[in-house]
């Protein structure tokens, strides 16, 4: 019995835990035995996928990481497939359920392995559009009106009343006409819903084209240099970079890895919030960062390194940055 329980050992230690720290998606290796009927060089894998209430999950995908071998769960949640004994990792994926990855598993030749998956349904979680701050710069004192096209503002500073009416100051600050006070930037925050179902209104997720996403998979111990480099490229000055990095970096280093995508300019406009500025700035840069802390350097989506557009400041310049932490970077594979 003991040797079948490799997968269990870890779980066994967690066997009885507080409800709040419930691991929502996990697997158990039920058995792993020699079977002479299985061809040399292959491994027969089967099992069942159920939700956290024990109900079968139908139409889920079980596949190896390059998806060269995959199968779909039936109405009873059962699946069965033949792997190569060279395969070392498999995953479970379903649009509506949490994904599960099994890493570094030895699928031995002529073995029959039974692995059950337990996966929890994904809900559309509310997510915060966090801390967009807007800086405005001008060589001459200029009156500017800024209107945000967003109807679920949760906090603004200074108070937003159908718009902000400000005057740029020589020191790079903003004089708010309604309060008569000077501020270094304008601040707003809002609430959206995270949904992996694409095209849902008021929802936010990684942008993809033909199931291909532009982004970065980073080791979180390089977060600071990654951000400094990316934000410089995108045209943020040292003050703006510091504001950005001190806000986001502590959150991005929570896990060993992170997936990051920047929504820049038009994508910011369409995905986060439209902005009407009067007079129109001579140069404008808006940067929104989506990120997900990850335990493992693996995302379900296919991605390529994002190319960041450069930016040069001139005349009346508007800079805005914000971001959101997303729970699920995964798109339909």
């Amino acid at each position: 019995m003991k040797k079948y329980f490799v997968g269990f050992l870890l779980l066994g230690a967690l066997n009885s835990v507080h409800a709040e720290s419930i691991m929502r998606n996990y697997y158990t290796v039920v058995s792993n035995e020699f079977n002479k009927d299985v061809k040399v060089g292959t491994c027969l894998l089967s099992g069942k996928v159920v939700d956290m209430n024990g109900n079968p999950i139908q139409s889920g995908t079980i596949a190896n990481l390059d998806r060269s071998r995959s199968c779909i769960t039936d109405a009873k949640g059962n699946y069965s497939m033949v792997l190569s004994s060279k395969d070392t990792a498999i995953f479970f994926y379903h649009e509506n359920y949490g994904e599960i990855v099994i890493w570094k598993f030895e699928f031995k030749s002529q073995h029959q392995v039974v692995i059950n998956f337990f996966s929890d349904e994904i809900s559309d979680l509310p997510i915060m559009v966090e801390k967009p701050v807007i800086y405005l710069y001008s060589d001459t004192e200029t009156d500017v009106e800024i209107v945000l096209n967003h109807d679920a503002l949760s906090f603004t500073y200074p108070v937003y009343n159908k718009g902000w009416n400000v005057q740029t100051t020589s020191a790079g600050g903003l004089l708010d006409k309604s309060t008569g006070k000077e501020y270094p930037y304008l601040f707003w925050e809002a609430c959206l819903t995270e949904s992996r179902r694409q095209g849902k209104s008021n929802s936010l997720n990684y942008k993809s084209e033909n199931n291909l996403v532009q982004g970065f998979l980073i080791k979180s111990d390089s977060t600071v240099s990654f951000l400094e480099h990316s934000l410089s490229k995108l045209g943020l000055n040292e003050k703006e970079q510091t504001d950005f990095i001190t806000y986001w970096a502590p959150r991005m280093i929570q896990k060993e890895f992170a997936f990051v995508q920047f929504l820049v300019d038009e994508e910011y406009e369409t995905s986060i919030a439209g902005l009407t500025v009067n007079p129109k700035p001579d140069s404008q840069r808006r940067i929104y960062m989506l990120f997900t802390p990850l335990e493992k350097p693996f995302v379900f989506l296919e991605y390529e390194t994002q190319i960041l557009p450069s930016f040069s400041r001139k005349g009346l310049t508007l800079i805005e940055w914000g971001g959101s932490e997303l729970g699920n970077p995964q798109l339909v594979p």
Binding site: S123, L125, K131, Y157, E238
Partner: protein
């Protein structure tokens, strides 16, 4: 993450609710029954019940309730207290004048039952279902601004409570910088920064409370911006510092209708949060740390006296630091 967290709790309680025919006043406790009993003396009310923690079995993917021993059940004034036994059971004789009861156990969430009428000669059965309370708090975002009219080479060292989780620019035993006007230049890299940043995790933070009295503020959070602007202006923060402070903290404070706030200023900051040495010694220094707890209700078992905030005058080489920490309500029940 927090959202997920709440969701899983909500799910397990909703399952519980289906299980029994019980009246539910709140999700983390259940009034199982409230009945007349001739055995209870007049003017008294007997409260019995079980404290259970929810555990999860990974082999069967099932949740179950297990008894929690050593939990404190008490009236708010702590005149009547009981502790749960190994079966999680407790028994407590209250006066029928009592109106509130709380559960407390370290590392679990505290549960307060407000305004319950404990009727004379009644026996009430209440089950508590506390969730776990993660004890770590973050010393969030202390930022240090430095100002000098002429270029000044400066060295800063500090030791904080708990463990540093993030610094920017990177802190290696010290920051070596030059200060000119409001700009900070790190000598090593030559890069400029508007402020120095550090963050830490600790489990040692508590409000300063003496004899159930605290110098602080109980505020309605819809007025938090005005409250902070006034307080911070009094404390001598300039508009950039105020804006940085308010845009960081106000969105968190408004999560509930009320909040308890206490500032640790200067010496208390040095003693409770971080001991800082700056060479040369600043001509003026102001350090402001805000402790706060968002609250559902303004009824708390504390007398809150308005904290005196003294002003501050900038001169010469000036250093301003601010930070804060959200304190869980369990720290209000020491």
């Amino acid at each position: 993450m927090k959202n997920l967290f709440l969701l899983s709790v909500a799910i397990c309680y909703s399952q519980l609710l289906i299980a029994g025919d019980i009246s539910v006043l709140n999700q983390n406790y259940i009034i199982v029954s409230d009945e007349f009993s001739s055995e209870v003396p007049v003017g008294k009310c007997l409260v019995v019940g079980t404290i259970q923690e929810t555990t999860f079995d990974y082999m069967t993917a099932s949740r179950e309730q297990v008894p929690l021993a050593g939990g404190l059940v008490s009236t708010l004034d702590r005149k009547k207290t009981a502790t749960s036994d190994t079966d999680g059971k407790f028994k407590l004789l209250l006066d029928s004048k009592d109106t509130s009861l709380f559960f407390f156990k370290k590392s679990f969430e505290e549960i307060v039952i407000w305004k319950y009428i404990f009727k004379s000669q009644h026996k009430v059965t209440i089950n508590f279902l506390p969730g776990i309370n993660s004890a770590m708090m973050t010393v969030d975002k202390p930022v240090i601004y430095l100002y000098s009219d002429s270029e000044l080479k400066t060295e800063i060292q500090f030791t904080c409570k708990g463990a540093l989780t993030f610094t920017y620019p990177e802190y290696n035993d010290k920051w070596e910088i030059t200060v000119n006007q409001n700009k900070i230049t790190e000598i090593k890299s030559g890069k400029t920064y508007p402020y120095l940043f550090w963050e830490a995790e600790t489990n040692e933070l508590e409000f300063e409370i003496e004899n159930q009295t605290m110098n602080g503020f109980l505020i309605k959070t819809d007025s938090v911006v005005v409250f902070l602007e006034n307080s911070l202006a009094t404390l001598g923060l300039n508009s950039t510092e105020q804006t940085d402070f308010i845009t960081f903290w106000a969105p968190r404070i408004i999560s509930k209708p009320y909040a308890l706030v206490q500032f640790f200023i200067d010496d208390l900051y040095q003693e409770k949060i971080s001991e800082m040495t700056i060479t040369p010694t600043p001509d003026a220094i102001r350090r402001v740390f805000m402790m706060f707890t968002p609250l559902e209700s303004e009824e708390i078992n504390l007398t809150v006296l308005p904290q005196k905030l003294n002003s501050f005058e900038r001169k010469g080489f000036t250093v301003v630091e601010w930070g804060g920490s959200e304190i869980s309500t369990s720290n209000l029940i020491p």
